[in-house]
């Protein structure tokens, strides 16, 4: 193979994979503007299903519940995920480190049905014993927070690993107290990672159907649970409309946050270059 055909092959392969990844998303969006009740047969463009969406009180209350759960569970996830990341990256050796690192990756890879079942059986045992918690908002939150912690720990650890430990040392040399070092040096450097961990865990929670189904009680249907039960029955044009709204919001958020993080990163690099040039004067 000559170099040129090689390059052409590489380009073709990549375009094909991207097409495979984006084809379903694009079809979802296009057919959300289809007037026909038949999801897959195009009649003409209209906003009919967006109108139907506004009237769909089941779906709207499910969306609100999902947003609430996603927000709270993402906060909890980032909190515990940051601790996990610190424990695993800053302490190379302590008894039980392997256990902690395997426990923290378990929710990442273990099939959802097992995580859901095990959490539920534990919560039921506790309830049997203490009389609470009832299945509902709290139990879903706990499940999502567990899943999110595992992901947040990965995001924060990768940032901590590439962070320059000498900055902390320098701050200490200059007389900072440990908590000051954390507040003035470590935390500001971590902010981009914390933001992306929050967004990732928020999305995961907003998307989860299996854990929620196991952990939810009567009257607590999250958005994915409603969508899943409708999708099981067949195709439904309101799902296309709700998908388009979600995709738009998520895309804007992801693009905006990546601009934000690269902006922070550039600013930090500039400041560092400035500091070095000052020091060399």
């Amino acid at each position: 193979m000559s170099f040129a055909t090689n390059k052409l092959f590489a380009k073709g392969w990549m375009i094909a994979v991207y097409a495979f990844l984006y084809l379903p998303i694009i079809t979802l969006v296009i057919f959300s503007f289809n007037d026909s009740r038949l999801v897959t047969v195009w009649s003409h463009a209209s906003l009919r299903w967006y109108g139907a969406l506004m009237q769909d009180s089941d779906l709207i209350s499910a969306v609100l519940l999902s947003l609430k759960i996603a927000f709270i569970s993402a906060l909890i996830s980032v909190f515990f995920g940051t601790f996990t990341a610190f424990a695993l990256t800053r302490y190379k050796y302590f008894r039980g480190r392997t256990l902690l690192s395997s426990m923290s990756t378990t929710p990442l890879v273990m099939p959802d049905v097992i995580v859901g079942l095990s959490l539920l059986l534990m919560l039921v045992s506790i309830q049997h014993w203490l009389g609470f918690p009832e299945r509902g908002l709290f139990t879903i939150l706990l499940g999502h927070a567990l899943l999110g912690t595992a992901y947040a720990a990965v995001v924060v650890s990768s940032r901590l690993r590439e962070m320059d430990g000498r900055l902390d040392e320098a701050a200490m040399d200059l007389g900072c107290k440990p908590l000051q070092v954390f507040r003035l040096v470590t935390l500001p450097l971590l902010v981009p990672a914390l933001v992306s961990a929050f967004l990732l865990t928020f999305t995961l929670s907003f998307d989860d159907v299996v854990l929620s189904s196991f952990l939810s009680g009567p009257g607590f249907s999250t958005m994915p649970m409603v969508i899943f039960s409708r999708a099981r029955l067949g195709l439904n044009p309101t799902i296309n409309a709700v998908a388009t709204v979600t995709i738009t919001v998520v895309t804007i958020a992801v693009v905006a946050s990546s601009f934000y993080t690269s902006h922070i990163e550039r600013k930090r690099k500039r400041e560092m270059a400035l500091a070095y040039s000052d020091a060399n004067k």
Partner: protein, 302 residues
């Protein structure tokens, strides 16, 4: 470095809290629940609740272990067949993801440096948009009167709709589609760190690019291949949503059986036993994943 450790020791009154908080969190929500699953799998379902393991006779506790659930799983042909079929589909998914993802990650690592962040974001973006909605999207594409069939018929390529839905084809499309990013990301992380001087040296010594690829690039990316494959294989074995929405009556998957035991039959001990056997199946792949990830990490530092 010593100073740094002492700083973290002082932070939050010592390292006990920094390690203790995540430790108790995961013990409470991962370890104990899994032990409870094991315990319940060894009991039986009574009228309203699970039988208790310890019974009291003449003032002495006796441990009552019930292996009936496990006996049933291994004697019933359908369970065994379902486990084997789950492994089969997970394996095919892993191989397909590797076949599609490896060249992709390789080409991505070789593309111009300034384009790479954008290419990476384009891989991540579908991952951020709802998994459930993307699976639903495949349903609208693949059904008999779906988008693909409609387009092909109106173009005159086919006259009768292709049966692409509720069979192993639709199941595998959905699985490969959902798990492909999990394969690409660790492979890309690994391949982008590959020291190109090895390949130059091989070329200088007269090795053909093809041979150099098999003798140098592939062995050096072994940790990435294992990590990616396990990240796909392990969750794929227990997948529930994809077989439920895209699979058919013939595509047996154990995640669905567990779900039905729990939600339809209300047999919690049986569901727990199904889960325990599934965990045993994925223990070895999980150990391989941990090892590969440790190697990836170590490779990143070298």
């Amino acid at each position: 470095m010593h100073k740094l450790t002492s700083y973290f020791k002082n932070l939050f009154q010592g390292n006990k809290l920094v390690i203790g908080i995540p430790y108790s969190w995961f013990i409470m929500l991962v370890l104990i629940p899994l032990l409870i699953v094991l315990k319940i799998s060894l009991s039986e379902m009574e009228a309203t609740s699970v039988s208790s393991m310890i019974s009291w006779s003449q003032g002495w506790p006796t441990l009552k272990l019930n292996f009936a659930n496990y006996q049933f799983i291994f004697s019933d042909a359908l369970y065994v067949k379902t486990y084997l079929s789950s492994i089969k589909y997970a394996l095919i998914t892993t191989i397909l993801c590797l076949a599609i993802g490896y060249p992709f990650a390789y080409f991505m690592a070789r593309s111009p440096k300034h384009l790479q962040p954008m290419l990476l974001m384009l891989i991540m973006l579908p991952f951020w948009t709802s998994f459930l909605l993307r699976i639903y999207a495949w349903k609208t594409l693949l059904v008999n009167n779906g988008v693909i069939n409609n387009v092909l018929i109106s173009l005159g390529v086919i006259h009768a709709p292709l049966a692409m839905m509720n069979n192993s084809f639709s199941l595998l499309i959905g699985m490969v589609y959902s798990y492909l990013p999990f394969m690409i990301l660790p492979l890309y992380a690994n391949l982008s760190k590959l020291d190109l001087r090895y390949l130059e040296a091989a070329a200088d010594l007269g090795t053909s690019p093809f041979k150099a690829f098999w003798l140098i690039t592939v062995p050096l990316s072994k940790a990435g291949i294992i990590a990616g494959s396990m990240l796909v294989f392990i969750p794929a074995v227990g997948e529930f949503v994809i077989p439920e929405l895209l699979g058919g009556p013939d595509t047996l998957m154990i995640g669905r059986v567990l779900w039905d035991e729990f939600f339809s039959n209300n047999d919690w001990p049986m569901a727990a036993a199904v889960a325990v056997v599934m965990i045993l199946l994925i223990l070895m792949p999980m150990a391989m994943l941990n090892k590969a990830e440790a190697e990836q990490e170590a490779g990143g530092k070298a």
